[in-house]
C-alpha cells in the first residue's frame, strides 16, 4: 500500500518536473528572434521570401501563447513534433539514437560501479596501505580529467597505435548489437573506460569511507563473533550497509552522467542522443532539443525513483513513506 502511494506521488511530481523543464527550454528558445532561427534553417544566401515562407510553414508567426498551447497539447499526446530540418518525426530519430546512448550509459555505469566499488572495498580493507594510497591518487587523477581530454588521450594512446599495428578490434564510431557482441564491445570499450574513469573516483572514496565507518559497528562484531569468514562479513554485512550513501550519490550523478555522455559521443563520433542534440542546438532545431531534454529529464526522474526504491531494499531501516 505504502509502495503504491509512494510511486503515484513520485510519478506525479516527476510529471511536474518534466513540465517545468520543457516549458523552461521552450521559453529560453524563444528569447531568440524568430528571424534568426529561420535564417539559420534556410542556410546561407536565402532570400527574404524563403525565410518568410519557413517562418509560416513552421507556425513561428503565431503568437507565443498559441504556439506554447499547441506544444503542450502535442507533448501531452506524446507527440514530439517533427524536426525543423529534415521533417522526420522527433520520436523516430530519438528511437534511432536511443540504443546508442543506452549502450554508452549502461556499459559505462556498470564498469564505473565495478571499478569504483571494487577499488573502494579493497582500499577500505587495506586502509593506509600502499594500494590504498596509489588507488586514492589514481582515482583522483581520473576525477581531475575532463572527459574530452581523457577521450582524446585514449584515441591517441590506444586507438591509433593499435590500428597502426593492424589490431582493429577497438574502434570509434558505432556498431549495433545486431553486428554481434564482440564488435559492439570493441566500439564501446573506449567510451566506457572514459565515462568510468571520470566518475569512479567519487564512488571509490564514498564506498571506502562508508565501509570504514560500517566496519566499526556492533553488527559487524556480532557477525564476526558468529564465526563468519572475513570475506562474508565484508561482502554480506559490511558492504550492504555501506552501499546506502553510494546509492544516494548515484541518484545525484545521473544528471552529470548524461552531460558526460554528450561529450563522450562527440569525442568518439557516436551518433547518439547527445550528438544529435548538439547539432540541434547549433541549428536551432527546437523540436529535437525539447525532445532530447524531455527524454533526458524523464530518465533522471525515473532513475531517482529507482534509486529511492533501492534504498529501502538495501537498508531495512529505511521505510518508504
Amino acid at each position: 500500500m505504502g509502495m503504491v502511494r509512494f510511486l503515484v506521488r513520485r510519478i506525479l511530481t516527476g510529471i511536474v518536473v518534466l513540465w517545468i523543464v520543457s516549458t523552461g527550454t521552450f521559453l529560453l528558445f524563444f528569447t531568440r528572434p524568430v528571424a534568426v532561427v529561420a535564417r539559420e534553417l534556410a542556410g546561407r544566401g536565402a532570400t527574404p521570401q524563403v525565410i518568410t515562407e519557413i517562418i509560416r510553414n513552421l507556425g513561428l508567426n503565431q503568437p507565443l501563447r498559441v504556439q506554447y498551447w499547441q506544444f503542450l497539447d502535442r507533448t501531452a499526446h506524446l507527440n514530439l513534433g517533427t524536426s525543423y530540418l529534415t521533417g522526420v518525426p522527433v520520436k523516430t530519430s530519438l528511437a534511432q539514437d536511443l540504443p546508442i546512448t543506452a549502450s554508452v550509459v549502461v556499459g559505462g555505469t556498470v564498469l564505473w560501479l565495478i571499478v569504483g566499488l571494487g577499488v573502494g572495498v579493497l582500499s577500505a580493507t587495506r586502509a593506509r596501505s600502499l594500494f590504498d594510497r596509489v588507488a586514492t591518487v589514481g582515482v583522483l587523477a581520473g576525477l581531475s580529467m575532463p572527459a574530452f581530454v581523457l577521450g582524446e588521450l585514449l584515441i591517441i594512446g590506444v586507438f591509433l597505435p593499435l590500428n597502426e599495428h593492424g589490431i582493429s578490434w577497438i574502434q570509434t564510431g558505432y556498431a549495433g548489437l545486431s553486428t554481434g557482441v564482440v564488435p559492439w564491445v570493441g566500439h564501446m570499450i573506449l567510451p566506457w573506460i572514459t565515462l568510468a574513469t571520470i566518475q569512479a573516483a567519487v564512488y571509490t572514496r564514498l564506498s571506502r569511507g562508508s565501509l570504514l565507518d560500517t566496519m566499526g559497528e556492533d553488527f559487524i562484531r556480532t557477525a564476526r563473533s558468529k564465526g563468519l569468514s572475513e570475506r562474508r562479513v565484508i561482502l554480506r554485512h559490511g558492504l550492504r550497509a555501506a552501499l546506502t550513501p553510494v546509492v544516494s550519490q548515484l541518484g545525484v550523478d545521473i544528471g552529470a552522467l548524461l552531460g558526460g555522455v554528450i561529450v563522450v559521443e562527440q569525442v568518439f563520433g557516436l551518433p547518439g542522443l547527445g550528438f544529435e542534440s548538439l547539432q540541434a542546438i547549433d541549428t536551432g532545431n527546437l523540436p529535437v532539443i525539447i525532445g532530447f531534454v524531455l527524454v533526458a529529464s524523464a530518465f533522471v526522474v525515473v532513475a531517482n525513483i529507482v534509486v529511492d526504491m533501492a534504498y529501502a531494499l538495501l537498508d531495512p531501516r529505511v521505510r518508504i513513506m
Binding site: 523543464v21 586502509a127 583522483l140 581531475s144 575532463p146 581530454v149
Partner: protein, 344 residues
C-alpha cells in the same frame, strides 16, 4: 558555568607562565598543524601557488619573449606546410598552435581565465549555497520543502544540456560561462549545508542563544555558520577543479570563452584536429590543466583529513601506528594490542 568559575579561569590564564607554558590552540590552529604534516597537501599548495603566480605574471613572460597572447607568427610560427612548429623551434618554448601563436604564452594566459573562472564561480556558488542551505535548514517547514525540492531539481538536471541551450541563445561570453557554472554548482553545497544546519539547530547552544533573545539571522550567521566553515572549505576546494573542468568542457563544445581569448579548454578544443601532427599542442595544455585540478583535489582531500580529528586515529590503526604502540607497550610492559584489536 558560574561567575566564580569564570573568574577562576581568568585568573588561571593570567597566572600561567608566559611563553613555553600551556598554550590554548583553536580548532583552526590544530587543523592547520595537521595540514602542515601532510606532505601531499603542502606540495599541492606549492603547485597552486606557482600556477597562480604564473597566471599573474603572464604579461611579463609575454613581453620577455615579445610574443603577445593572440599574436600569430605566420612565418616563424608555422612550417612551410602551415602546421604548428614543435617545442624549442624559433624561440617558441612549447611550440606553437595552428595559426602560429606561442603555445607557452597562450597556456599562461589560459591559466588566468581558467583559474579566474574556477575561483569566481566557486565563490559565488559558496555564498549562494551557504545562504540558501542555511535558510532551508534553519527555517524548515514549507520554506525548506520548496528550497529542498529546488536543490534536488538543479542537482538532478542534465546540466550540460541547459548550459548548451543557454549558450546557444545568448552568444558565448565569459559572463555566460561564469553564470552557467555558478548556477549548477551552488546546489551541492546547499544540500550539505542544509543537512548540517538541520542537526546543528537542535544543539543546546542554539537554544541558549535563542533564550538570550538572538534573532534567526544572528543565530544562522553568527552561531551556526562558523561551525559549517570546515565542510564548506573542503567543498569549495573540491569545486574549483570541477569548475575548471566545466569551463574546459564548455570551451570544447564551442560554447565557452570566445576566440581569440585563450583558456585551457579553448586551446585543447582547437588542438583536436592536430593531435596526429603536433603532440605538444595536446600534451602541454592538458598537463597544465591536469596538474592544477589534481593539486586542488589533493589539497581538498588534505583539508578534509586535517579537519577530521578521527584521521589521526585511523592513522594510528595502520602499520606505523601499531609498530609505535608495540614499542611503547614493550617499554611499559603491557599488551601490544589495543582493546579494539583484541575484541574484533
Amino acid at each position: 558555568m558560574s561567575v566564580s568559575e569564570l573568574e577562576f579561569q581568568a585568573h588561571a590564564a593570567e597566572s600561567a607562565p608566559a611563553g613555553g607554558g600551556i598554550e590554548g590552540r583553536s580548532q583552526w590552529q590544530l587543523t592547520w598543524r595537521r595540514l602542515l604534516h601532510d606532505k601531499v597537501a603542502i606540495a599541492s599548495m606549492v603547485v597552486i601557488a606557482v600556477m597562480v603566480l604564473l597566471a599573474i605574471t603572464a604579461p611579463v613572460f609575454a613581453s620577455l619573449y615579445h610574443h603577445g597572447p593572440d599574436q600569430a607568427f605566420t612565418n616563424t610560427g608555422t612550417t612551410s606546410t602551415g602546421a604548428p612548429v614543435g617545442p624549442g623551434t624559433h624561440g617558441f618554448l612549447l611550440g606553437t598552435d595552428y595559426i602560429g601563436r606561442d603555445l607557452f604564452i597562450r597556456i599562461l594566459y589560459g591559466a588566468r581565465i581558467s583559474l579566474f573562472v574556477g575561483i569566481v564561480t566557486t565563490a559565488i556558488a559558496a555564498v549562494a549555497g551557504v545562504g540558501i542551505g542555511l535558510i532551508a535548514g534553519y527555517f524548515g517547514g514549507w520554506v525548506d520543502t520548496v528550497l529542498a525540492r529546488f536543490i534536488d531539481t538543479v542537482l538532478a538536471f542534465p546540466y550540460i544540456v541547459l548550459a548548451l541551450a543557454l549558450a546557444a541563445v545568448f552568444s558565448p561570453s565569459l559572463t555566460i560561462v561564469i553564470g552557467v557554472i555558478s548556477f549548477f554548482s551552488w546546489a551541492g553545497i546547499s544540500r550539505i549545508v542544509r543537512g548540517q544546519t538541520l542537526s546543528l539547530k537542535e544543539k543546546e547552544y542554539i537554544e541558549a542563544a535563542r533564550s538570550l533573545g538572538a534573532g534567526p539571522w544572528r543565530i544562522m550567521f553568527i552561531d551556526i555558520l562558523p561551525n559549517l566553515m570546515g565542510p564548506v572549505l573542503v567543498l569549495a576546494t573540491l569545486y574549483i577543479p570541477t569548475a575548471v573542468i566545466f569551463e574546459a568542457t564548455l570551451s570544447f563544445l564551442g560554447i565557452g570563452v570566445p576566440e581569440p581569448t585563450a583558456s585551457w579548454g579553448s586551446i585543447l578544443s582547437e588542438a583536436q584536429n592536430y593531435y596526429t601532427v603536433a603532440w605538444w599542442y595536446v600534451v602541454f595544455p592538458s598537463a597544465a590543466l591536469l596538474i592544477t585540478t589534481l593539486a586542488f583535489n589533493l589539497l581538498g582531500d588534505g583539508i578534509r583529513d586535517a579537519l577530521d580529528p578521527r584521521t589521526e586515529r585511523i592513522f594510528a590503526a595502520g602499520k606505523r601506528g601499531r609498530r609505535r604502540r608495540r614499542r611503547l607497550a614493550a617499554r611499559q610492559g603491557t599488551s601490544p594490542l589495543t582493546p579494539a584489536e583484541l575484541g574484533e
